[in-house]
Symmetry: D3
Subunit: 286 residues, 6 copies
């Protein structure tokens, strides 16, 4: 997974950024329109006010561009790098009124995404040296999943499926509805297209065995205590099945390394997207 | 400010909720389509997994409704009330497949909004007994301002302006661009329509005096240390001007009461919308 | 209020202009497609066919641009200036087919906006020398409020609130619903955000007093005969309250100066947007 | 042409009405939200404040419905009928807040459309007893053509083509571009599909003859003085061609009958849509 | 009818092409994102894999442009020309990832439109030397009518009306609803605007006479056997009415010349748009 | 894969159907509006005019519903069943004008989808008794993929991935860009999320071996002659890897059984969506 924004993604990105601008600007920026003459030019800096991992500069750049294509944005830091309070992470210059009108929306994106990247990096650092991946979930802010998942990658995390459409994940309610884990995995294999793997959730060890026998490609250990995780990993690895093991639920910064050391392949953490505090960034005029 | 969702707001709300659903569902919920027969019916509960202030049930209700108008949603708790872990806050029943497909989007709204309401309530409680109001800012998640501001009200907070279009707030960069605070206030008075008040930001006491003399309706004390806030309040109240005083910047749960006691009218806090951890809520099938 | 179109407004403007073009062009301009070869180039002039105040050239320019970015538009007159019949107000040249297809939509905007500016200017001229402002209302053509209000400014008028969202204006029905003018003003003060003033409508002198006592920031004298307006102004000015006085209803070109001389601050006139006859403009090929 | 709104048209109508509501309501009706409790019910009447021809009640009805499907609207007058000042033309009742929020948008449509119908009727009455039709043009308010043309029908007028896509009308610039009127008519006949007639504009009598010889189905006498119109009609009728004759340009209430008596089939008048003063209508609460 | 894409049509074209891209790309091209580095450049050729008539290159060009404005597309063949298997019809070069992501959508348009042009040309060739025109119908792929009708022109065919809005075509059900063909034609003449001709459908010779008497401008011979077509043509031509004759229904490549020789003006064929097999085209990297 | 249309899919379906209706109706159905009185009621039947597999009735039903919710549609045949010429497959009754306006769009969907289902069924029947699946490709009509893929399922086929976003399929150009098949598979495994399998295309036997060694989950035999397919299947099955085998390219009704008998798991056929002739269906009024 990379941080490159592909050309084909701008069409979508622009629609979200434009909505965000519309939400803030509405029928017009009354303060700026009243006070700032149309031709005035300024330069400004985006400044870190605490320590964090940078994420979102390409989107901040684009927000300014959408308000006024004449604004010049220059990123001074790479996405995913760590900065200290006081660092200028980007500069932007051009029409003063446009700068003032775009400021809040651009900074809101930067603060949210850098916040997510920063929390993700903490989890990634906590498992340093181990082969496990830290993954996100679908617990993202409604309408911002593309951006939240980008920030997870900037933080060194990895993305889980993007939505309900690009991955099969059989949860307990699906199992109940299908009438058992074996039947569920078989049905999924038959009805989902052949390019999708089948992941099944298991809370008890018996369920792990069942999922294993049913031929699941991935088993998610759901909300298990550490001891049970260890046993489950033993069970699965012992079966020489090539099954991928994911742990999820009740993962915190202080227990994530333990879970990782139990030998799972992936640990997914909802908090990195739904509970990351915003990074503190402000725009300062020269 | 009330928690009533007016009839005329559903048109907008639905467009945001539909986008969120589209983001998650995309070309279809492959797991549910494969496993759950079309006619199966179920009941489910939305359960609090920690203690929080409830916010967002009308939107969760609507998410389920948009996926399948046949689903029946029943709120068991009032918006803005405090619940303990284990409380069932709502039930929803009907077509099993629809429940499963809508679940994540509905819960994502609930978790975010309840999280914001919960953090807001902490600030509100911290200034209990004083006449001050806790207000939000424009530091909301892009595209979700309507919802974030609703959650602030559910938490007992008050809303600041909604965007750049419905309030004049003169910041230091505007002042610089206009050529002084007096000129800025006068220009704003002349060019903004007559139903808008003029708020000006001041960081130093000299600026407070200047804003006062310029006839600002509201003065925002920006990032001032507590001692300076006290002096500023004295200065303003001494002028018998009827000016409203707002404090903003570097407000935390441990210093908010001090600031309130200094006698300001409004304290605005970015963190309640940009850094509130999500409440923990899950949907449990019967 | 200025005539500058801010960069951030084009996004919205373009959506309205594009809709208007789509409305006229539909599945294609069958006449032009049949008759005009693809490469033919022409020049044309936009000519005043009676005397009026010019408004709308930036939008006419953009209409041509949206149909064909290769068209070159040159404004020969400033927005808000008075022109005589026969004056060329702008020229446009480039692809002949594009000129013909864009013509009607561009001219429709120009005719409407110049018509509004012209009628507004008549009211503004009628109160020349007095400190009063001529303001518009929300009685604009559905979907064209941004443009209609722009034309009012071009005519020398001032804008009232833009919609229901950026100003509190308490009308008799609100007062009745709230249970009295005092209660209404107090509720509005409490529930609307602190950057908004409170305007209340009064038809009788008793209501003026009540609004005054209730602390309204602005009082609108609604449909009052001139004598009553004079008394109301006396009452309000006598209270040394700093309250702004607006007169509205049954304002015509032959009574507007009398109302102005009574000492009100603002006179709002629905007719300038809903009943202004179009200016006569046509596009003439060289 | 009828006044029936077909089922398939509501999809389009709703999109325009919704945009108009969004334009006025934006982020919310701050006055009503502050003052009117959510459950309050009221009844109101739409009252004529001068004499006019009614047009637009189905759209006013729909505006109220879009804001709140619970509102009950009852038309008391038929579209196209004449009413005196003081007449109640419709009643609407239900949620008070919804009534107040929808009021302006609903009335703006009614006032504009009734104004157009009223002016159209004046032209229709002026040619009473003659076989001529009064038609509109494409000089409608941008984005409101559907509605403006509906109002013309309500006034007793007839609609010309709806846009550039559903009729061939060859103007002088097209003729010049095509290289002569004969060539233009021939090209149009060849390239436009076979269900479209060919109308050509003529300003001089020589052009009328040319158009006649070229086989135009309809000839538009453009801006001709009355004497020339008479000669042109003689010329065309003398040719026993079955050609339809349209007069356009510089048509006023005081010369329209003369033009009609000259024997043309259709008189098209831009003013009925671009310069009709709004009818005066207000909503009065019971 | 020409193959020129007018400037004003791109706005619409782009919206369809963008939807098609969105349909294919969704949340991202996972294969290309994983495998192709962001800066890699390539060149590719669009190659005919069987013999066909080329149509759609301007749209393929635009698809590539929408994905990445940096891609360079070069058409090597003219629209409407015949190519042999193995011919390179266009080249495109630039960013490799963008090429791969755009490929399928661009080729899907090319294959469909070239397929339609190819089948249309077969019908056109079958009536070579006769004055008849081969026309399309409204039996196009939903959402693609603009493109399908373009391809018909590329194949040498002619377009019938574009939709229900730009032509009157009275079918048997309309006749029944109106109460007879005479009444139907009269009503249509009265109520449709004067720039539209009236076409009526006839299945029996009696109906042809009736339509003729009713003054229809065009008579469509619907699903008639060849002998009846001949008689109908005789009947109509004998009336010296200038009526246009269209034949439709059960037209195949092996009977189309016979129908044409019967002397009709237009033969409309649904199959050319709804049943044309796709041309075989593939994109080959250099 | 099932034929159930899930509740959450209607939001998307409606947007496509509405666009299709808008495309056909535009500014109004001029024929029906002129001829059919507003209240007239009729009943009609949708009749098969040749033999085919039925597909698309739920969408036809919805088209009628979108034009007029009062229309009653009754399916008489199940999706995917075979009907003979002359069979009434559905009836629809209600407002005559609405029926006439909706007819073409509804039937266009039915004809296309039934055509696809019919051709798909021919392939499915050709491999009857064998364990192979007939799958579609991304060669669908732009904007109609959801519908085309539905029709494939109605015909008894199976769906391949829906777009570029829900499956990894490594083609020769990807391999070249990645620098070899081994590297490509490894990169895909690392960068795509863990719920996606990796499919790689191979044209030569050496490539099959390479893909096998690289650990591809699925190998697509691209455009191979039958003998090579047999060898490739032998190679892969001999490796006891559990790899899925797909054949694609140059598949026709007369060679599909041979390919199937070679032992592949899936045969994907572009023709079933891009070259299926439309089924012949017409709407007949009672």
């Amino acid at each position: 997974m990379t941080l490159t924004v592909r050309e084909n993604e701008w069409m979508y990105i622009d629609s979200v950024l434009s909505s965000a601008l519309k939400e803030d600007i509405g029928s017009g920026d009354v303060t700026t329109s009243a006070l700032v003459t149309a031709n005035r030019q300024s330069g400004a800096s985006l400044v870190a006010k605490d320590d964090f991992i940078v994420a979102g500069l390409p989107f901040a750049d684009r927000v300014f561009h959408l308000v006024d294509p004449g604004l010049k944005f220059r990123s001074l830091k790479k996405e995913g790098c760590r900065v200290k309070a006081g660092t200028v992470i980007a500069t932007v210059s051009g029409n003063t009124a446009a700068l003032l009108t775009a400021e809040r929306t651009a900074v809101n994106f930067l603060q949210r995404l850098s916040g997510i990247a920063t929390l993700t990096r903490k989890y990634v650092d906590a498992v340093k040296g181990l082969k496990v991946k830290i993954a996100d979930t679908r617990k993202t802010a409604p309408g911002l999943r593309y951006f939240d998942k980008y920030a997870v990658r900037a933080g060194g995390g990895t993305n889980h499926r993007f939505g309900l459409y690009d991955g099969v994940l059989i949860k307990d309610n699906h199992i109940q509805a299908a009438g058992g884990i074996g039947k569920a995995v078989r049905l999924a294999r038959m009805r989902a297209h052949h390019l999708l793997k089948i992941e099944a959730e298991a809370a008890a060890l018996a369920e792990v065995s069942e999922a294993l026998n049913a031929g699941a490609d991935i088993i998610m250990l759901d909300n298990m205590p550490l001891e049970r995780i260890k046993k489950a990993v033993g069970l699965i690895r012992g079966s020489s099945s090539g099954v991928i093991i994911e742990a999820s639920g009740n993962v915190h910064l202080d227990n994530v390394r333990g879970i990782a050391e139990a030998g799972v392949d992936i640990i997914s953490v909802g908090a990195i997207t739904h509970s990351a505090p915003a990074a503190d960034i402000s725009m300062r005029f020269d």
